[in-house]
């Protein structure tokens, strides 16, 4: 009994469990008639052992794990590269890089300009049609959605799991305005999707406020489950109000975006590149707007509410009001992204608007770093590019739906090992550290030192 409770046994136990989970997670699928097939063949199926000789998967993964552990041990034993020091140095280097970029105005501006320049020339460097399409519909739009959800989850600290509902409302409003739904367009005028932007934003904000008002005054976990339910309810309505939404077939063809301003005439077509630039322009606008918002009175009120709601209330901040504002702004950006998707993909139906979508966006925000705009952008780029790479390259044994499993695992792993995200907002990281160290909000100052921190 003693042995099983020792730290070494626990470490080995979790390692073996991790090995089993990773092997099964990446393994071949099973089916209903033989439920154990997926598990057994995850270990028994023959794969190439690092390109050397054919071996069962179980052995291959054991080799993989053994080599990773062996590598770490080697580093420790040789003492030439201490892992801890390496880690400390890595994080110091990263934070220096971050501070160098973040704190010097010129450096920061330069960095953003270079990033923008790269984003502008990118579609001319990447000419593969898969990637050009993915850059619009799977990367740029997801960045837009992630920075919107970041306002809700990151800035205001509210867990919104029904983000997809607002996205769906945006997309369906576009279809309605342009006359692509069974429900007749307002006054039977078929407008261009550009007109849907203000209308969709108004619709989405109204539904956000209606949903938020009863729930935002309650505890945060209630909000999470109510938004989860709301996402589902919207899907039920989309699926079943045939005469309005077209049911499971969705909309007819939504027209493309177009501009007809006097001599200026342009129609976005099937080519994804013009849509990429359109989305990019909006991403830039939203980035500016949200970073201005972060440092505005509203943004500071969010920080105050997040850190200590009672104290915030006692200095005259109305928590409900600011939470509703955050919720509505987040919803508006989702609705906005819905409009672009509607115009770009032409056809929409309820299968796009599922829980998986909300979770996917949440993963982007968590991975990048809650409350850190730049982190969320970087996080979205990394995750979405990796996902698209896996879908495009189809490595042996990979099914597209496996991505969801990986994303779920990633959420848990981030919360265990790095809750502040890969590129954290300084403030948010500090907050998490304070909570974990048990420092009360009224004792938190810039001079407060946590355990292990040098003065």
């Amino acid at each position: 009994m003693k042995f099983f409770q020792s730290p070494a046994a626990k470490r080995w136990g979790s390692l073996i469990a991790l090995y089993a989970v990773v092997t099964v997670m990446t393994g071949p699928p099973g089916n209903q008639s033989s439920p154990t097939l997926g598990f057994t063949s995850s270990f028994s199926e023959t794969v190439s052992f690092f390109g050397l000789f054919p071996a069962p998967r179980g052995l291959f993964f054991a080799g993989l794990f053994a080599s990773v552990i062996g590598f770490i041990w080697l580093l420790r034993w040789s003492q030439t590269l201490k892992i801890d020091r390496f880690r400390r140095e890595y994080s110091v280097a990263l934070s220096e890089l971050y501070q160098g970029v973040a704190q010097r105005r010129a450096a920061r501006g330069g960095f953003y300009l270079v990033a923008l320049g790269v984003a502008i020339v990118l579609p001319h460097l990447v000419t593969d049609p898969f990637w050009q399409q993915a850059m619009v519909s799977q990367i740029a739009i997801y960045v837009l959605l992630a920075i919107g959800l970041n306002v809700v989850v990151g800035f205001a600290g509210l867990l919104d799991l029904g983000f997809v509902a607002f996205y769906a409302i945006g997309a369906y409003t576009t279809a309605w305005i342009t006359g692509a739904l069974p429900a007749a367009a307002p006054f039977h005028i078929h407008l261009n999707p550009f007109w849907a932007i203000p209308i969709a934003i108004v619709f989405v904000m109204i539904s956000g406020v209606l949903l938020g008002l009863p729930t935002l005054r309650l505890r945060g976990d209630y909000l999470a489950i109510v938004t989860l339910g709301f996402g589902e309810i919207v899907t039920i309505f989309l699926n079943n109000l045939y005469k309005i939404t077209g049911g499971s077939t969705g909309s007819n063809q939504i027209p493309h975006f177009s501009v007809h301003l006097g001599p200026l005439k342009y129609v976005w077509g099937l080519d994804p590149v013009p849509y990429y630039y359109l989305t990019l322009a909006f991403v830039v606008v939203f980035l500016f707007a949200f970073s201005a918002l972060e440092h505005s009175r509203v943004g500071r009120s969010w920080v105050a509410i997040r850190e200590d709601e009672i104290a915030a209330e006692s200095v005259g901040i109305n928590p409900l009001k600011y939470k509703v504002i955050a919720f509505a702004i987040g919803a508006a950006s989702a609705g906005f992204a819905g409009v672009i998707t509607g115009g770009q993909s032409l056809f929409i139906n309820p299968t796009t608007f599922t829980l998986s979508f909300s979770i996917n966006i949440l993963v982007l925000v968590i991975f990048g770093g809650m409350g850190s705009i730049i982190g969320v952008v970087i996080g979205s780029l990394i995750i979405q590019t990796l996902s698209m790479y896996l879908i495009h390259a189809q490595p042996a044994g990979f099914q597209n739906s496996d991505l969801y499993i990986y994303l779920g695992a990633l959420l848990i792993a981030m919360m265990i090992f790095r809750p502040e995200g890969i590129w954290p907002s300084k403030r948010r990281r500090r907050e998490i550290q304070f909570v974990e160290a048990g420092v009360e909000p009224d004792q938190r100052t810039d001079e407060t030192r946590l355990n292990g921190e040098s003065a």
Binding site: V24, M25, P29, G30, N31, Q32, P35, G38, F39, V153, L159, L161, P182, A183, P214, T215, L218, G220, D221, Y222, A224, I225, V226, L228, G229, F230, E232, I233, I236, F237, N239, N240, L241, Y242, K243, I244, S356, I359, L362, I366, Q399, S401, D402, Y404, I405, L407, G408, L410, L411, I412, M414, M415, I416, P419, E431, I432, V435, E436, A437, G438
Partner: protein
């Protein structure tokens, strides 16, 4: 906007002569909601958190008992004694699988965060991650369609109550649900184990000073809630079949039931579940069948607006 009226049902008159059948159906579903709601309420009692992965506990219970029943019954027709045995084994399989998954979720998604005293948002996110991970893994391993469960007994109409035919399955659900709910209630209110759960629910820090092992108590709470959730998955699966997404909607409703009765309150979960089951069942008279799920969502929002502490009030510590 004429299409919107498809939301409302034209069966308003059915409420008159269908009242008893709807009541029986509603109570049977209500017991399932109650059993799942217990899991939410118990975890909420000790941790003040909603366990988002509880829907997957339900789903796993459904799948485990589905495979066991399929293997036991095979293609034959079980005799009366066999039926009884198979049902008991099915409940046990569902319950144990649910308990195992609940324990694993606690171990992986909750305990490391608790060690670090992580902020509340972190728990919610890791539980969501666990739920998402589990149901997608189930989809991968078992396929993505709804499987009808092999019936371990012939679902005869046993007797007629008023004008409601009462089937074997309804009786089983009522009986098994009541037995487990009462059993759990006794366990929490009478045994030493139950006392430690209540102690942690009231004040974890003081409880640990009094010698209660907090980690173990929390794990036990997950296991007990998981057992009932998994067993409920079996009873649900007998009627509606099993599919990897089967946990989502019932769990949302069970959560509504828990809030309706007063979250953290065991008897509240029972009352809330039954009430929600009946309300939902009766609402076919007003709302078109496809929109039934909207009703319980409306109930949830309404309860949160009007009386967020539920019918019996919150807290596991005192009420149980």
């Amino acid at each position: 906007m004429g299409g919107f009226f498809s939301f409302f049902s034209s069966h308003f008159a059915t409420l008159g002569h269908e009242f008893w059948p709807l009541l029986v159906g509603g109570l049977a579903t209500g017991f399932i909601y109650s059993m799942v709601a217990i899991g939410y309420t118990m975890v909420y009692g000790v941790l003040r958190l909603i366990n988002f992965a509880h829907s997957e506990v339900f789903m796993t219970g459904g799948f485990a008992s589905f495979f066991l029943t399929k293997w036991l019954v095979g293609s034959g027709t079980p005799s009366a004694w066999q039926s009884v045995l198979y049902v008991i084994l099915g409940i046990l399989a569902g319950g144990l699988a649910g308990a195992a998954i609940a324990a694993a979720v606690e171990r992986v998604a909750y305990r490391p965060l608790r060690r670090r005293k992580a902020p509340k948002l972190a728990y919610l996110i890791s539980a969501i991650g666990a739920s998402y991970f589990l149901f997608n893994l189930a989809a991968k391993e078992f396929g993505r369609i709804n499987f009808a469960m092999t019936q371990p007994f012939a679902n005869h109409v046993l007797f007629t109550f008023a004008n409601a035919p009462v089937q074997m399955l309804d009786v089983l659900t009522l009986f098994a649900g009541l037995l487990m709910l009462v059993g759990l209630d006794r366990l929490v209110s009478k045994t030493k184990l139950g006392r430690s759960i209540r102690a942690v629910a009231q004040d974890a820090e003081t409880a640990s000073l009094m010698g209660v092992n907090i980690d173990r108590t929390i794990a036990v709470t997950f296991v007990l809630g998981g057992f009932l959730g998994g067993a409920a998955g079996y009873l649900f699966g007998l009627k509606f079949g099993v599919v990897y997404t089967m946990g989502f909607t019932p769990a949302l409703k069970a959560f509504t039931a828990a809030v309706l009765g007063g979250i953290g309150n065991l008897r509240g979960a029972l009352i809330g579940g039954l009430l929600l089951g009946v309300v939902e069942s009766m609402s076919v008279a007003f709302v078109n069948g496809a929109f039934i799920d909207v009703v319980s969502f409306a109930v949830l929002v309404l309860v949160l607006l009007v009386r967020p502490t539920g019918i019996l009030g919150e807290s596991l510590g005192r009420a149980a």
